[in-house]
């Protein structure tokens, strides 16, 4: 596997933002997640829960509710606006003021024609969904007190609204409230506090289910407006409810971090008389569960503790398959760290600033596993605050360390850095070509003379950089017709090729000399998560969300023999069972047969000269191999050499001097920065 000097970096204070709202589109199997900083992330549940898109947030925009209407995504927030997102350009498309104060909730009817928004002033505002925009239609009868939650009856003729101390049922045709169901307040001291109906659900048999701040899960008869059953679930709040597609199961998220499942079960077998029974309790969160989605096979929950948890329902999936494993998605599936290979600099991207660090130095030598004395400590050179209200969506640092670029949804900024041993200066490049307006991905060529930026319609803008000016050379386009944004850009080391992958699972390779499309890699069903071009053999290595690895020769325009063999033999089952995607592929310059790649929990060197592991052999065999004598070791070793010494990896890069930079962000550090959870009595404390 080789020995490396490792820079173990733990000073990247990346702090993910709390999850506020979620919406699941069961047709496209996309989950939209809104975070507290206003960012919206799209996960593709059909493709190993890969985080396809990230729409950066903006100061002052707090998303309170998300809603899919067909393939369109709407959000509403306490700023009182309804926003539709442009999922192709990863930016808000337009915003409409609802004129009702903060909007607490939005909900679309099942027909996809109307969008209802519950406002602070007690009105439910109906918006008509037009092809390109939404238009205010009318108000339902105005009530006293704010509308916290809304639920449409599947027929679209009725609507339940959770308010303070009560639930109202509206007739959506006449706009009048037909029932008023009073929700009991909590006992004791909270008697004087009004109870908040945080969430309601309206089932097709006219059952209304509510979760409230007194910790009750209540089942109402919506046609008569009477309470059927009340289940006290928690001492604190029931924050969110979600109903399964077939309405046989409801899950409720609480402030305690638990998710409680209720199932609609016949109390005696073979009879139609069904009741709601409290069944399972899932405890995967330490803090409030603010957002919950009941998919057909899993419970997806997110909350204050920033993790997205996919808990499969074991009665709905095959046991002991990849689907039945619990997944916790804690880190973004893209790179927030850029590394200047030559200069030994690290750029960390935060939503509102960038940090530039110089790596520490050590001249010691030691045995494997030893910690070397640090001669020069790592130091923070620059903290660059972004301009404007929009959050940073991508950033890049040139390999020589003299250029720095970042982009928000509205603008791109480029800086020239001059670093000497004890002084740092940064200078903004003022005149940028107008093509660099809204980009999704930024990348510098290896010789730092070019800046590549992915723009709308999957095009790539090539900008030439030099000391005096920067100008746009040309725009690279392909002809596949995909409008999806490019999420990976990768230039080759010799500056001839540029690979661009978009979320339509396409990888295009451009010839930078000829300034046109060289070829497209045959389409694969899973989205590429990391792409890199081999410096020597000019083959393109791509790793996909389903953990498959391909090697595509750019010269022959076909898959290499190694890649075919890998596909024939199949990857090791343990490799396929890993639940985080590979986020970076690099190559070892000293040994061209080595491919270095990493995900959040391991990094791996694939030695193409060694035989591939068979399904029955041990995949993680590094420790075993070490105990073997040399002949047996070479017999037993296989291509995948996996190192799990470092956990919660955000980045692994090889520097020019062959030392490895490992950026870790331990989950414990994240947890320690979270606010205190609600107090719970623990037994024997």
């Amino acid at each position: 596997m080789g020995e490396f000097k490792v820079h173990r970096v733990r000073f990247f204070d990346y702090m993910p933002s709390a999850i506020r709202a979620m919406a699941f589109n069961s047709h496209t199997e996309r989950l939209a997640v809104a975070r507290a900083d206003g960012a919206v992330e799209i996960f593709n549940f059909a493709d190993n829960y890969f985080q396809e898109k990230v729409i950066p947030g903006r100061d002052g925009r707090a998303v309170e509710a998300l809603c899919w209407v067909g393939r369109r995504l709407f959000s509403a927030g306490l700023d009182g606006e309804l926003t539709e997102y442009d999922l192709e350009n990863l930016r808000p498309k337009y915003s409409i003021e609802a004129y009702g104060g903060p909007v607490w909730t939005i909900s679309g009817n099942s027909q996809g024609t109307l969008l209802a928004a519950g406002c602070e002033d007690g009105t439910v505002k109906m918006f008509e969904i037009l092809d390109e925009r939404i238009q205010f239609q009318r108000n339902l009868d105005r009530q006293k007190g704010r509308i916290i939650s809304l639920a449409w009856h599947p027929s679209g003729t009725k609507m339940a609204a959770g308010m303070m101390d009560m639930i109202r049922i509206f007739d959506t045709e006449t706009g009048s409230a037909t029932h008023r169901m009073l929700v009991e307040r909590g006992a004791g001291a909270s008697k004087s506090k009004e109870v908040v109906v945080w969430s309601v659900a309206f089932l097709s048999d006219h059952t209304v289910i509510s979760g409230d701040s007194a910790g009750k899960f209540q089942i109402w008869d919506g046609s008569t407006g009477t309470l059927i059953r009340s289940h006290p679930v928690t001492k604190w709040d029931v924050l969110v409810l979600s109903v399964s597609q077939d309405e046989s199961s409801v899950i409720a998220g609480t402030s305690e971090g638990t998710v409680v499942q209720f199932q609609f079960i016949a109390s005696t077998a073979g009879q139609e008389d069904k009741h709601w029974f409290r069944t399972r309790t899932f405890k995967n969160h330490s803090h409030d569960v603010r957002a919950l989605v009941h998919t057909d096979t899993a419970v997806v929950s997110g909350g204050m503790d920033t993790q997205l948890v996919v808990r499969p329902l074991l009665d709905k999936v095959e046991k002991n398959t990849q689907e039945s494993a619990l997944r916790k998605i804690a880190f973004p599936h893209r790179n927030l760290v850029s590394c200047a290979k030559k200069a030994g600099l690290l750029l960390f991207q935060f939503p509102d600033h960038l940090e530039l660090w110089r790596l520490g130095e050590s001249d010691g030598n030691g045995a494997p596993g030893e910690i070397l004395p640090v001669k020069r400590k790592p130091e923070k050179l620059i903290q660059l605050k972004r301009k404007g209200e929009d959050h940073i969506c991508c950033s890049a640092l040139s390999p020589c360390g003299s250029w720095l670029a970042y982009s928000t949804v509205s603008s791109v900024r480029l800086y020239r850095l001059t670093l000497s041993s004890n002084s740092v200066s940064i200078q903004k490049v003022s005149k940028l070509p107008k093509e660099l307006r809204s980009v999704h991905q930024l990348c510098f060529s290896l010789d730092s003379s070019r800046l590549f930026a992915s723009s709308s319609l999957s095009s790539v803008v090539v900008v030439a950089l030099d000391q005096t000016e920067c100008r746009c050379l040309h725009t690279l386009k392909h002809k596949s017709g995909s409008k999806q944004p490019i999420h990976i850009l990768c230039p080759s080391e010799d500056g001839r090729w540029l690979a661009a992958a978009n979320t339509d699972c396409e990888i295009h390779v451009f010839d930078l000399h000829k300034k046109k499309l060289h070829c497209s890699v045959p389409a694969y069903s899973s989205c590429p998560t990391a792409v890199s071009i081999h410096p020597a053999s000019c083959s393109l290595v791509s790793v996909h969300a389903d953990q498959q690895i391909f090697e595509f020769s750019l010269k022959q325009k076909e898959y290499t023999e190694w890649s075919r063999q890998l596909q024939r033999q199949g990857l090791h089952p343990l490799w396929l069972q890993r639940d985080t995607p590979v986020t970076r592929v690099t190559f070892n310059p000293t040994n061209p047969a080595h491919i270095v790649l990493h995900d959040a929990f391991m990094f791996c060197i694939i030695d193409q000269s060694l035989p591939l592991p068979k399904a029955e052999t041990k995949l993680y065999n590094q420790m075993v191999l070490r105990s073997f004598p040399q002949p047996q070791r070479s017999r037993e070793s296989h291509a995948f050499k996996i190192c799990k010494n470092f956990q919660h990896l955000l980045s692994v890069t090889l520097l020019e001097d062959l030392s490895l930079v490992v950026v870790e962000r331990p989950l414990l550090d994240i947890v320690s920065q979270l606010p205190a959870p609600v107090r719970q009595k623990k037994f024997a404390t």
């Binding site: 059953r229 289940h231 006290p232 679930v233 499942q261 199932q263 079960i265 016949a266 109390s267 005696t268 077998a269 073979g270 009741h275 029974f277 409290r278 069944t279 399972r280 309790t281 009665d315 037994f683 024997a684």
Partner: protein
């Protein structure tokens, strides 16, 4: 050896009553529980044992109400039979011979004529494999029935009866084994298995301990080792089953039960708290805390009005309407270890040993009832592991039972042992022991022997204690100094003896109190208690002397001692060894009423018993392999009535019975065949005379009977036999099942007539008697002590009353009485069966 087979080791008195789940009769009046070889029927109101169902020849392993007749009960036993009893009358109706040891029994109303039993699996010879077998009970009138129709239902079940339960209307059966729940559907004849991980990530132990099924819903509750309760639903689908989890217990859940309506779920365990969960609103729970000891079983009466919980200290608590403990039935408390010797209180003839922590219990073996607990330590016992508290380790009575000496000690780690010697005087006024003297630290080390001078009637009493500190001390009751006003005499040290710095072991007085023998390791020293001079030393190396016993009566010149290898008999007149045999005696004790001595030997992992006279080294009686393990506690309890046994081998049992404790803390005794037969016969007779249970009517009758019985004894002037006479008709009326009674009009005249006659005799007497009777009833409802105390005398009096009434019942003609009696004795179970079907 043929005669010896007549003497059997039996359980008689002091058996565990919490071995299996008790059963409450459908009218909530009786509680049935398996106890040793018998089934005991207790009254739920008076806590009195009203019936004992004898007949099984081995441990009874299950009691079950017959689903088709709520007045009959099945019991199963390790002797391989299932017996059907009429428990109100105590009549064995039928015996079904299965042939294999049975571990538990189940039945359900929808499976008519079938009982389900758990037996060892015959298929593979593993001793821990059990199977559930359906037994079709043939319907024939014979007393003894061989069953042939056996069909296995489930293999691989748990032997724990709590791990199997019948579901809604007997449609399915839930069985827990290990971490797996299996539900068997009788209609489809197929079973679904649901397994949990053995160990989840939080270290919780998922092993299932008990199971209960909801009576009307498809819901199975399982209790787990880690204290969780799971409610399984939708288990008719193999895959879409689901469960919810309740967690309150911190130890394993020992028992689960749904109430008959299914509105509540009861659970109990180590915490000795009965938890009541509202079904479908499980967050609402009620607690009944401080039940005294860990709950092992929970039973619910069929009408749901009463619960009862069995506890690990051999106690059954009856709980009324789930909030109030209404009565407690306490058996002999043995716990894990008995530290005091077994003793017999000379006054009450009760067996005395330590029971509850810090207490001595007085247990009447004749009546099989705990008389009272004497608080020795007088400190609050705190239930917490790792906490050392005072324990009663030794106790001794003097010959007349007026003094009791107790030793309590507390051993803390890395600290000296704390010992207290307490002397208790019997107070005739309160009929209890009162603390007279407390001697803190009587010795510097732990006390190894304690004995009273047995013949201290004439002299002042002497107590000798020997200790590991190298001394033995004699304590004497000293008169108080004249000038103090203190009440009574107290105990003080009279003499401190030692012998060459050796450590004393046991000590023993001769029967007349003239000699004291103290063993010092290998040496036995004989002292005169009058002058405290050393009279003689005896020694028979090798090995330390363990037990010392003086011979009694004609053999009083002998002193017996045991070492690790030898049993020696010394003649005190010649101070020489009379005889010795080589045997490893673990316990030697003398019968206080005869010359006989009993020696328990430990050989080949089991205990052998030898009974002999010291004068001749040949055993009168010997039995090999009395029980597995080593017997270290035994006692001769004097009989109330001497047995008239002529067979030589059983003569030693004539005056007293030998009780001993096995290492498993079972109290066993020896019984002859003749004795057993007479016991069986007497119980049958009781059936006829005293079939009325503790009802208000019975109290009414009992009052009349007693006043009738006492009146002649009190004085000849108040001769009023008329009152009990009247009750004959009433009793006939009450005892006969209502559906076989003659027409009410026919009875009414007879009944009224009988009343009329009683009035003519003595008018003044009846007025106050009625008032008294009323007040008696009120007292009874409060459960007064007086009534339970009087209950013991009732059985003896009842026959005499009954005999009187039979002779003179002028209200009914002789033929009418005979007719009534004949009707009553008919077996009406066929009628009940018809009615049920």
């Amino acid at each position: 050896m043929v005669e010896q087979a007549e003497i059997r080791v039996v359980r008689q008195g002091g058996s565990k009553i919490t071995f299996r789940e008790p059963v409450i009769s459908s009218d909530s009046r009786f509680l049935l529980c398996a106890s040793g070889h018998t089934v005991k029927v207790f009254s739920t109101v008076t806590e009195e044992c009203v019936q004992e169902l004898r007949g099984h020849t081995d441990l009874v392993t299950g009691v079950l109400l017959r689903p088709s007749n709520h007045l009959q009960v099945y019991s199963c036993s390790a002797d391989g039979t299932v017996r059907l009893w009429d428990f109100t009358d105590g009549i064995l109706i039928r015996t079904y011979v299965i042939g294999y040891p049975i571990f538990s029994i189940f039945a359900s109303a929808s499976h008519d004529g079938v009982v389900f039993i758990v037996t060892a699996s015959q298929r593979d010879n593993r001793s821990d494999a059990f199977q559930l077998v359906a037994v079709h009970l043939p319907a024939c009138a014979d007393q003894l029935v061989e069953t042939t129709e056996l069909s296995a239902v489930l293999g691989d079940v748990s032997a724990n009866p709590a791990a199997i339960a019948f579901g809604r209307a007997g449609e399915y059966l839930a069985s827990a084994n290990g971490s797996q729940l299996e539900v068997y559907f009788f209609k489809k004849k197929k079973s679904h298995r649901f397994s949990l991980k053995d160990e989840n990530k939080n270290g919780g132990r998922n092993t299932l301990t008990c199971v209960a099924c909801h009576p009307t819903d498809d819901c199975v509750a399982t209790g787990h080792e880690d204290g969780k309760i799971r409610l399984w639903r939708n288990f008719s689908h193999r895959k879409e089953y689901t469960y919810s989890t309740l967690h309150w217990h911190h130890g394993a859940v020992a028992s689960l039960r749904f109430t008959p309506e299914g509105s509540n779920l009861l659970s109990g365990g180590l915490e000795s708290v009965l938890v009541q969960w509202r079904y479908e609103q499980e967050s609402q729970r009620n607690f009944l805390p401080r039940l005294g000891a860990a709950i092992t079983h929970i039973a619910v009466s069929p009408d749901g009005s009463r619960f009862c919980t069995s506890h690990s200290d051999n106690k059954i608590t009856i709980i009324q309407s789930c909030v109030k403990v209404s009565s407690i039935i306490q058996g002999l408390v043995t716990g894990d270890e008995v530290q005091t010797d077994l003793m017999v209180d000379p006054r009450s003839k009760a067996l005395v040993l330590n029971g509850k922590p810090g207490h001595l219990q007085f247990y009447s073996l004749q009546r099989d009832k705990l008389l009272f607990n004497l608080d020795i330590v007088q400190q609050e016992f705190i239930h917490q592991s790792g906490l050392d508290q005072y324990q009663v380790v030794r106790a001794a009575f003097d010959g007349s039972g007026s003094w009791l000496a107790t030793v309590e000690e507390r051993k803390q780690k890395a600290a000296e042992v704390e010992v207290n010697l307490k002397l208790w005087a019997f107070d005739d006024h309160t009929q209890s022991f009162v603390l007279n003297t407390t001697i803190a630290a009587p010795h510097e080390a732990r006390i190894s022997g304690l004995c009273f001078d047995p013949a201290a009637g004439s002299r002042t009493a002497v107590l000798v204690s020997s200790s590991a500190d190298g001394h033995f001390k004699a304590w004497r009751l000293a008169a108080p100094p004249a000038h103090t006003d203190d009440e009574g005499a107290s105990w003080s040290c009279d003499f401190v003896g030692a012998y060459h710095g050796l450590v004393p072991g046991c000590c023993s007085f001769s029967a007349d109190g003239s000699l004291l023998a103290v063993s010092f390791q290998e040496v036995v020293t004989v002292w005169s208690p009058a002058s405290w001079e050393l009279l003689a030393t005896l020694s028979q190396p090798p090995g330390d002397v363990r037990n010392l016993c003086f011979g009694r009566l004609s053999c009083s010149k002998y002193l017996l001692g045991t070492t690790t290898k030898l049993l020696c008999c010394w003649n005190l007149l010649t101070c020489s060894l009379e005889w010795s045999t080589s045997m490893e005696v673990s316990l030697l004790l003398a019968d206080p009423l005869s010359e006989n001595m009993a020696a328990f030997c430990h050989q080949d992992g089991s205990a052998d018993l030898f009974v002999f006279k010291p004068s001749e080294p040949l055993p009168l009686f010997s039995q090999k392999a009395v029980c597995p393990g080593r017997v270290t506690r035994a006692v001769f309890a004097p009989r109330e009535v001497m047995l008239e046994s002529c067979e030589e081998s059983s003569q030693w049992l004539n005056r007293s019975r030998l009780y001993f404790l096995t290492p498993q803390m079972d109290l066993l005794t020896f019984s002859t065949k003749a004795e057993e037969q007479s016991l069986l016969a007497s119980s049958k007779q009781l059936v006829i005379d005293d079939a009325v249970a503790m009802t208000p009517f019975y109290l009414l009758l009992g009052k009349h009977q007693r006043s009738g019985a006492e009146a002649p004894a009190g004085g000849p002037s108040s001769g009023s036999p008329a009152l009990p006479q009247s009750s004959a008709a009433v009793r006939e009326l009450l005892q006969t099942p209502a559906h076989v009674l003659p027409a009410a009009s026919f009875l009414c005249s007879a009944f009224l007539e009988s009343l009329l006659i009683s009035v003519t005799d003595d008018r003044e007497e009846t007025g106050p008697a009625d008032q008294e009777m009323e007040s008696e009833k009120e007292e009874e409802e409060e459960g007064s002590d007086e009534e339970t105390g009087a209950g013991g005398t009732r059985p003896e009096e009842a026959p005499s009353g009954g005999a009187q009434t039979e002779g003179a019942a002028p209200g009914l003609t002789r033929t009418q009485v005979r007719e009534l009696r004949r009707v009553r004795k008919l077996d009406h179970s066929w009628l009940a069966r018809i009615l049920d079907s």
